[in-house]
Structure formats: structure tokens, C-alpha cells
Amino acid sequence: MKLAAAAGGGLLVGFNWTDAKAKPAVLDATAEAAAPSIEFNSYLSVSPEGKITIFSPNPEVGQGIKTAFPIVVAEELDVDWQQVHVAQAPLDTVKFQRQVAGGSGSIPHSWKRLRQAGATTRQLFINTAAKRWGVPAGECTTDKGMVLHKGKNKKATYAELAADASKMPTPTDVPLKDPKDFKLIGTSIRNVDNKDIITGKPLFGLDFHRDGMLYAVVQRPEAFGTKIKSVDASKARAMPGIVDVITFDNNVAVLGKSTWQVLKARKALNIQYEKESALESTSDHDRIFDELLNAPDATVRRKDGDVEAAFKSAAKVIKSEYQCPFLPHSPMEPMNFFAHVRPDGAELIGPTQTPERARGDAAKFLNLPQDKVTVEMTRMGGGFGRRLATDFVMEAVKVSALAKAPVKLIWTREDDMTGGDYRPAVKYRFEAALDAKGNMIGYKLRGAGINAGNPTRQDNFPAGAVDNLLIDSAEHKSPITTGPWRAPITNFLAYAEQSFLDEVATAAGKDPIAFRLELLDKAKKSPAGDIKYDIDRMRAVTELAAEKSNWGKKSGVAQGFSLYFSHLSYVAQVGEVTMKQGKPELTKVIAAVDCGIVINQSGARQQVMGGVVDGIGHAMYGKLTFDEGAPEQNNYNNYRMIRMSEIPEVEVHFVDNGIDPTGLGEPALPPTGGAVANAIFKATGKRIYKQPFVEQDVLKGVS
């Protein structure tokens, strides 16, 4: 490593630790830094005053990554958490990989990288101190940001060692801590942004302000399948504060001096639309689903054994269909982005789950090299998959380019709910064949989706546990746009599948948990085809949920079970329903979770509780319907969100197995709908086949 004088006058070094041969990079001194910090790798810097800054590269969307990542670095670095200052790193594809918030993938991707970043720097401080004191490095220890030598009664803080350390060679092949020595990992650490959140600091994209920027709102077509025929913006242009009205793509942007002024002017636009493609209604989709489910052709996703023969020889056949509607993502912070497109480059700032994709799309559109486009990530007021897309980023880029001005482009709640990229509507048909002993010898699933791609997860349980299995899918292409929605596909498939397995268990006269354990045993002893889940981990969460819920032994309480593996984590849930005045009431959900090592107990626990609440809320109430291509719900007055009075008690239990951690942003959600629906069945004898639950007969009269 070399030192280099930085433009700001500070003494800064940097290098990319993932490639130790990389040349030192000169870093800009941050204006607010009191003293020059020394950057030891992409993830951390130490100032001579003792401020340890850990950079969190991945976007923070409420999954707690900005707290969890630095915990892992700090653990291996061996510093006191109170010394740590956490900063959001901007997009930097040289320093970091996979700066994405999606797929619950950040922790599994970065676990070892973060540990190595901390451990390597810790070893560097040890080597520096050992050289200074003339002792073998192996005799030195560390504690709370200090290197210690007990024999010589020496100690030095990392800050005291930082300048010398920057001149030392970077250690290689540094061993990582034994997990039993973890001091931070596995404890409860509060969200690092709590203080800024509770005092109302500008953290979010919508809070961003740049002097001279224009506010912009966009009028998009009110119905999917229509295009602009004519635009009369004369009234809007004449309104106070309005700077420009710009038609681009299939949109009309209104630019002005304040949010309220552009919102009012947008209402004064006179835009005529004409039909461009099919104008679909929910009733059309119901018909299309049945056509797809009955179509002779479908895309085969997995085929094991001889399904036809199994169903012919079956003692009993069970067949059911499950259907779900489109859903908007509804993050509390609607879409927005700041863009300043200049002739020589572009500056993008805002809430995105995929900054690299945003940069790539902008650079391509503007015909600029990637390094001329910068992306800074703000904290996100939720995303749930919506911010994986870049449509709202590109609107800001296009409007800024056309207006030749810095622009903050914002969506209203109505824009957000009617602007597309929805969780696709899907319908499933399940069929199971039982032999005379109640063993499931055949299993069929057809998934029919609207812009859903493959709406099955063909390798998920019970695949591998049934000798004769056929999973296929069919798709309808629609003008209504869809995209990933928290736990894509499995957010509904898990409920459908787990409800159906409950039906099969009932038909076989078996306890729902015993039935699943039998299937897992069968998969273990004589697997049918490839098995892409860990059978022992499936079993462990099942048994933990059974134990913690006192399964089958509670009087006056109807229990429903659900088990799902998604995004590399395993979650089993038991829903509990009691009858009150003849109606089922959900009183409790018990979750057993295996995500390997729990990095932050507080964050992980809330992530599971929030996932369960989300799962209940959307299963119970979520529904977006269409009339002639136009969404029929557009804000929280006609689109129901779960509220505090509607939550059951939620109990969370983690499996303690020491396995490398996996993500938790999504896996707690998929099993919830099934646990709830199966408990309602147990209480009432009535099966729920459609979302939203609250509109089904069994819940009629329940508010």
C-alpha cells in the first residue's frame, strides 16, 4: 500500500482488498471529515482520532443490511460497536460486487467477504504492532479496537497504528474467528439509522433536495393497452410555478417549482388516449386462467416417473385450484428519483434496489460511458421488489435530459398503485394420487400466470418426495406489467401448495405434520429425481415449530401448519385460530426459522415478524382488479392494508445450527398464508381457495 496526497489535502490510501495486486487508488477526502481517514479496504477506514467507518455497499430497503453488514466486519476486526460509524457506500463496481437489494441474497453473497475484510485488517494492525514492539505477531491479541501484548504489557489502539499500518504489506490467508468466539454476531443490535429516523432527518429519496432542481410528475396512461392520441397542455402551462410540460414515450411530464404546483397542473392536462392493444378486465383473466389450465399444451418444468399410471392406479385422487389477484407493492415511500443529466455525464440519486442496473440503463440511453454516470443510494422507504425495476429512474433521466435541468421526479400514491410492475395474477391446479395406504404416489401441478414467467418452483418440496410427478406451466401475455414482488411467485405458490398438501393429508386421514415428515423420510430414503433442498433442515424447522406450538395438544385452538424453503432459508409456521361468536379469529402465528447463523437477533426477529404480518395482510386483504385495462384500486381508501388491530401475536424461534447465514428479507413471508388458511380450515372445516381471504365465504361478516 502507498500513501497518496488527496485533492482535499488529506492523507488517504485505498486499495481493493479482493485483488491485493490492484494499484492503490487515490480517494477524495470527504469535506466533513475532521481528520483524514485511512481506508484499509473497500469496507473500512480508520481515522487517527479513532473513528472507525464501515461502509455498507448494499442498498438499505428495510431489510437491515446497513446494520448487519457492518456487524460482520466489526466482529472480525474486533472493535467495540460504539466506536463504529456506518456509512452507505455509493455504487462502485470496482470496490464492490453485487450491490443489490434483492432475492434475500446479500448475506449469503457477502458473509465471507465481509469477514475477510475485517479479519485481514485486524491482522494488519497486529503485524504493525508486533513490528513496533519487536515481538512475534502470534503473541499479540486484540480487543475493542486495540492490539495487546500481555507479556510486555503493551497496548495500542488501531487509530494509533493506522498510519504505520498503511505502509505494511497486506496479510494474506488470514484465519477467520471461530464462531464460538463471536462477540457481536448473534446479539441484538439496533438499526444504525434509528436516531436519524426518529428525529426526521432527510434520509429517503423523496427527502433529497438540490438547489435549483425542478419537481416533476408524470401522467401515465390510465389504462394498460392505451396510447396517447393527443395532448393539450395549454392550461397546465399557464398555471403558477409551471416551468415546462414535456411529452415523452407514452407519458406527459409536468415540471415546476413545487410538488403541489405540478400536481395541480397535471390535473389540468387534457390528454386523449386510444386503444393500442387488448384492454383486459379481471373477468377476462378468470376466463383466460381456465383456458390455460385446460390447454393440452404447457411448458413442462419437471417430470419424474409415470404420472398417468400413478393416477390410473390411485385409490383416491384429490384435485383443487387456487387463485390469486395482482398486487401492487405499496412501499410507503412511492417511487421517485433525482437525475441531473449534463452533456458530459449524469448524476443519479435516489431509492433503488439495483443501482448498477440504473447506471447501465441510464448510460445506454444517454449514450455515455458507464463511468460518467454516478449513482448514490438513499435509504428506501420500502421496496418489496418494486425498486428492482428502473422505469422510475429512467423517467427522471429522460425528463432531466429533455428539460436540461436537475429534476426530482416523484410519483403519488395513485401513480404508484396504478403504475404497473405488479405481482402477477396466477391460478394453480393441483392433483394428488393416493394409494390405499394413503401414500402420495402421484402429484401434478399446472401453473397458469399472467406475465408470470414460470409460476411454479418445480424443484421445491414435495418434488423429490413423490415418485410420479408432473409440473408444468402456461402463460398469458398481457399489457398489464408485472415484476418481482417480495418472494416472487412463492409469495402465493407456497400458500396454495401448503393448503393443498393439507387437503391431501386430510384425505389420507393423516396429521398434516406427520404427513409431511413421512414425505421427507421418503425423499431421504428413496429420492425421486433431484432434490434441491436440505431434507434435514426441512425436518428440523418442522419439528421446532411442532414443539414450540405444542402441536395438536392445545384445547380450544385450531392449528394449521405450513413449511417452505425459499431463498436458501427454511421456515415452518403454525397458525392458531379460535372461534369467536361463530367466526374464526387468527390469534397467533409461531414461526420456526433456519437461516443459519443469526447475525443480528433484533433485526432478524423483526424481519420474520414483519414478513408474517406482510404475509397475513396481503393474503387477507390484498386485491388489485382491472376494468378495461384500468386498475380499480388506486389508494389506501380502496386498497386495504393490514393495520395494527389486525395482527395476531407472532412468536419467532431460530434454529441454532452454526451454518453460514442465509437471507431473511423474504423467506418468512411465503409460509404464512398456508398456516393461516390451514388453521381456518381446522377451525371451520372450510378451505380457502382464493385471495383475498376476507372475501371468501368462511370469513364473510368478519371485518
Binding site: I197, L203, S258, Q261, G382, G617, Y636, M641, M644
Partner: protein
């Protein structure tokens, strides 16, 4: 456009805006007080909650012309250092996930606890039911309101 002198967080702010501008956008666009959030614009989600003369009020549907000499408190004015018992409870219970709705939740809770310092769980739920949290932090919000109620005298 019209001139308004607004009493906010113990200070007087001047704003030159159209009379129908909701207080929310005056705070955010004109005064740079962005702690108060936009969520729905129709008083359904509570993200924009502020105190007007001590009462929890949805600033997204309150025209600036209706404020007059009323005294407004925003999240920035509750306690700039986060020392209000409700803010402290929010940190202790580690409520926020994404954090976007929490300013509104805190302002609703603070006004509620002033009226009802020792509420029952059912009273807390009734008071907080107008505030949506999309991340589903409701258990911790409820817990934090209880914790805050032990701090307020």
C-alpha cells in the same frame, strides 16, 4: 400566491405559497422540514402526521390557509436530539425497519400519550390504527408506545 407566517416548532417561518397548498408540502418543499412524510395524500396512512395545537393532524389534507395562528409541531420539533420519551422508546424497542412511516407513528403516539398517559393495549391499537406500516413493525410500535407510557409522568 400568498404570504403566511407559520408557527412551527417554536419558531416563525414565512412561506409564499398558494392558499390551498397542504401543510405537508409547505413543510417539505418550502421550509425543508422533510421529516414529515408523504404516503397517500388523502389522510389514510398517517405518514404525514404533525401536531396542530397539540392534536395529531394529517398535514397532507390541511391547507396552509387554515392554519392561522395555530402552533404546529413536526418530528423535527418533538425533540431535535431524539430525547422525547416516545423517540427514546422507539430506539430502545428498535422499531424501525425501513423507517419511512415512523415519524408519523411517533407523532401519533406522542399526541395520544399526552391525552392518555397510561393506555390499555386496546386503546393503543385504536389510537395507532390510522397509521400504516408496510414493513409490519406493528408489534414493536405497540410495545414502544407501552414503553413510552412508562417514561411519561
Amino acid at each position: 400566491m400568498a404570504q403566511y407566517n407559520l408557527k412551527i416548532n417554536g419558531q416563525t417561518y414565512k412561506a409564499d405559497v398558494e392558499p390551498d397548498t397542504p401543510l405537508l408540502w409547505v413543510l417539505r418543499d418550502s421550509l425543508g422540514l422533510v421529516g414529515t412524510k408523504y404516503g397517500c395524500g388523502i389522510a389514510q396512512c398517517g405518514a404525514c402526521t404533525v401536531h396542530v395545537n397539540g392534536a395529531a393532524t394529517r398535514s397532507c389534507v390541511l391547507p396552509v390557509s387554515a392554519i392561522g395562528s395555530s402552533s404546529v409541531t413536526t418530528i423535527e420539533g418533538l425533540s431535535a436530539q431524539g430525547e422525547h420519551p416516545v423517540q427514546q422508546a422507539w430506539d430502545e424497542v428498535d422499531v424501525p425497519q425501513c423507517g419511512y412511516c415512523q415519524a408519523g407513528q411517533i407523532m401519533t403516539a406522542a399526541a395520544f400519550l399526552k391525552q392518555n398517559p397510561k393506555p390499555s393495549e386496546a386503546e393503543i391499537e385504536a389510537a395507532m390504527n390510522g397509521n400504516i406500516c408496510r414493513c409490519g413493525t406493528y408489534h414493536r410500535i405497540r410495545e414502544a408506545v407501552k414503553v413510552a407510557s412508562t417514561k411519561t409522568k
